[in-house]
Symmetry: C2
Subunit: 477 residues, 2 copies
């Protein structure tokens, strides 16, 4: 069986027509109950067979005592059971012709001798996973969002009403569900997600198998990955290149375990070997991946790319930007970081300069570089802050030398009111991204952020973060 | 006149007994009105003499038509007038025996030949500022907070009800008032500030004069500075060293104009020369300053230091910390950054390890390093998340090898409720800081942040930011 064939096998993990849930519980406080509830609440279209030797009823459905009791065919199994019972259940699954199993439990090789022995038994039983493919163990399931709030939600952790979109998250940490993911989506309520896939200890399926599957999904634009170890780094690089060059997909990678203690931590965490920081640098350089600094950055970059896709921003191959700032100081800081990160703040072309100059007072001409300090223009326009701010962004983005706007803007809900919705049309017209750092009264900023979410322009924490994020998303030719 | 004598001259800028406001306006929408209002609203204790050739009344007070009309003595003058009128006003001030002038206006040398000429005239008139000391021009005044909401508030931009504390902000950008400062203080409502000083174009008084004055203030702990150029870099280094070694004060420096375009920007902005990035590195290395990345970082570090002072945290000379995390992944990321930034995550001493081990289940012992993944302990405690989280921080901080706790915690207002107020007692007992990254539903995090503000533990944006901020605040011996 070639890798290619293996990859198409994975359909069953996302588009099954029937699923057996081992370890389904009748107790609404237990995870085995919530797993079934997740499937039902998100309108899973296939048949659900909850299984528990005790029998009974769950959410108005029959609890089967074993798989043999199920009459219809079963394509996928979810195991939320102690590891000691896994062998028997997997035997039953193979006999029944189940094609895939998601093992949402720990104790399979990440700790101790017993775990290792169990893993060897499973490998023998499944004939090296040719009889059945396995995701996990030590994972928190798969989410496939078919349409807003609906699809295949198979975690034992209750999942919210995810919007459908073009983003995939692949994580070796099960903590993504129930913790990082709610944080990410509640900060970005208008962000659409297509997959959340936890790969856990990668007994069979690993990041490469998942990646190979995902790159063929036409509706997917961006893949954010948290990985603690690479199973096969050459294949990873090959797949990332393919994803990027043949399928136009962006991959953002957060790789932990680079330090001696960090790698020690992930080793105890998921039983994987750790490679070193130098390797990661080489991987990033060769794979067209974007390296994230931490979980915040992983989500920050993926939301940036995803919103850019959603708002039809053109691909950017040239790291050039204009700075549009109400504060000369913030502008200077952004220019400093631009030079440090290799982002050009170009000389203005004649047309752009002359359009800008029309807004400025005679006593203060605009800068000859694309460092647009719009304060004098606001004074010149008798305080029409909104018009000048929008015009400066518009004029900056009009220049063929400029591929993005870095904006440092003061927000005041009363005195200097700006209808931020107006940025949407400007961005759409130029198909170039706007990176904004907003400062003002904190509670007013939180309110303003809601508007930015609606128009899918992320707000950044700082001047440095803007320049760094932009530099990271610029594409190699 | 020695520098030392000059420095004591500055008292008049903060503790004057009488102030003349040139350019006071009867129109409540004008800045010349707001300047007087700021003084009155914040209960300035001295006499206020609003001056405008038109005469009239402002806020129930007489508007003097000129300084000569004022009978009492005047110690300080604030000039909110066109630059063309500055010479006459300064002449009047010198004649009257006014000791200091704050020039809150532009057009004095930052642009064009006329400005330069004016500057030369002022130097001649003031006999190189021996007749009168000048702050500005192109600044937005001085704030000295005597007690909560009261003191000397001399900006033409309306200022809020600042809490009194041990922090000074010195800024070459006037934007600090009305924009950055409200952002900073509304994010940190429990932060106390003592000075906000805008130095503008530094015609006379520069960052060094201000610094020399501030370091003698016993009630001051932390100084945050935004500087676009150094007037005298050797004196700056000398003063910073003195501030640090003799007076125990911490200085955080944000220096812009490091890049060619950035320096170009600040040149046009305030008429100062720009030095290069290499110089800054040397300055930081020699001065015991902490370098900030941008405005966010400037405020982030100053609030961290200020809160540490307020909560009696001991000085930290050894960059060692424990990581306390609910997510193995977040822990690994923080360990990676710790290694990169040179922060030790030490091996646990026997006592600490054995105290931790009591919390863990038999199937999952704690890490031998100070990388405390507390999830297994929560399971072992049947889900008593709050107790385990607090105990792990407490045990970690008990170790003599550990000087801080880096915490990655999940926040859920209902399911995993933690009374974060309880951190206060733990921190107070150990006198070691807690750096926390909180994730969960965004609106719940915003609510939780209010509690952290009350107990003066800042919340950080990301894992990387925690490690970087801690590393920056560690002191050289």
């Amino acid at each position: 069986m070639t890798d290619q064939n293996k990859s198409t096998d994975l359909d069953v993990f996302f588009h099954s027509r029937s699923v057996a849930v081992f370890g389904a519980s009748t107790n609404p406080n237990k995870s085995g109950y919530k797993l079934v509830q997740n499937l039902i609440d998100h309108n899973y279209k296939g048949k659900i067979y909850p299984i528990n030797p005790k029998g009974g009823e769950i959410l108005g459905r029959k609890l089967y005592t074993s798989l043999t009791e199920v009459e219809g065919s079963v394509e996928l199994a979810i195991l939320y059971i102690p590891s000691s019972k896994a062998i028997q259940v997997l035997k039953d699954c193979i006999q029944k012709g189940v094609k895939g199993a998601i093992i949402e439990a720990a104790g399979f090789g990440e700790v101790g001798e017993e775990g290792k022995k169990l893993k060897e038994q499973i490998i023998a039983l499944t004939e090296n996973f040719t009889k059945i493919r396995v995701l996990g163990p030590n994972c928190t399931g798969i989410t496939f969002v078919e349409k807003d709030g609906e699809g295949f939600f198979s975690s034992f952790i209750p999942m919210g009403k995810t919007k459908a979109g073009s983003l995939a998250i692949v994580s070796q940490s099960g903590f993504i569900n129930g913790a990082y993911y709610p944080d990410f989506t509640s900060r970005n309520p208008n962000l659409g997600v297509r997959y959340v896939i936890t790969i856990g200890n990668k007994m069979d399926l690993d990041e490469n198998d998942i990646l190979e599957y995902l790159i063929h999904d036409k509706d997917l634009s961006t893949i954010g990955m948290y990985i603690e170890s690479f199973r096969d780094v050459r294949r990873f690089i090959k797949l990332c290149n393919e994803a990027y060059k043949n399928y136009g997909k962006r991959i953002v990678l957060l790789r932990s375990g680079l330090s001696s203690i960090g790698s020690n931590a992930t080793t105890s965490h998921t039983g994987a070997l750790a490679e070193k920081s130098e390797l990661i640098k080489a991987v990033i350089a060769q794979s067209h991946c974007i390296q994230a600094d931490d979980f915040w950055d992983l989500f920050n970059i993926t939301r940036t790319l995803s919103f850019m896709k959603d708002t039809n921003i053109k691909p950017i191959y040239d790291a050039s930007a204009c700075v549009v700032t109400i504060s000369g100081a913030a502008g200077a800081i952004m220019a400093d970081w631009s030079e440090k990160y290799g982002v050009k703040i170009p000389l203005l072309d004649d047309e752009t300069y002359s359009n800008l100059a029309k807004l400025y007072p005679p006593w203060m001409a605009p800068n000859k570089y694309a460092l647009i300090d719009y304060w004098p223009a606001v004074e010149n326009a008798k305080g029409d802050y909104q018009r000048i701010l929008l015009d400066c962004i518009d004029i900056g983005l009009s220049s063929p030398r400029i591929n993005a706007a870095f904006v440092a803007a003061y927000h005041n809900a009363t005195a200097w009111k700006v209808d931020w919705n107006l940025l949407k049309e400007i961005m759409a017209r130029h198909q170039k991204p706007i990176f904004i750092w907003l400062f003002g009264e904190y509670h007013e900023l939180i309110e303003a952020e809601k508007i930015f979410q609606e128009i899918k322009i992320p707000i950044y924490h700082s001047e440095r973060e803007i320049v760094q994020t932009f530099k990271k998303i610029v594409q190699l030719k």
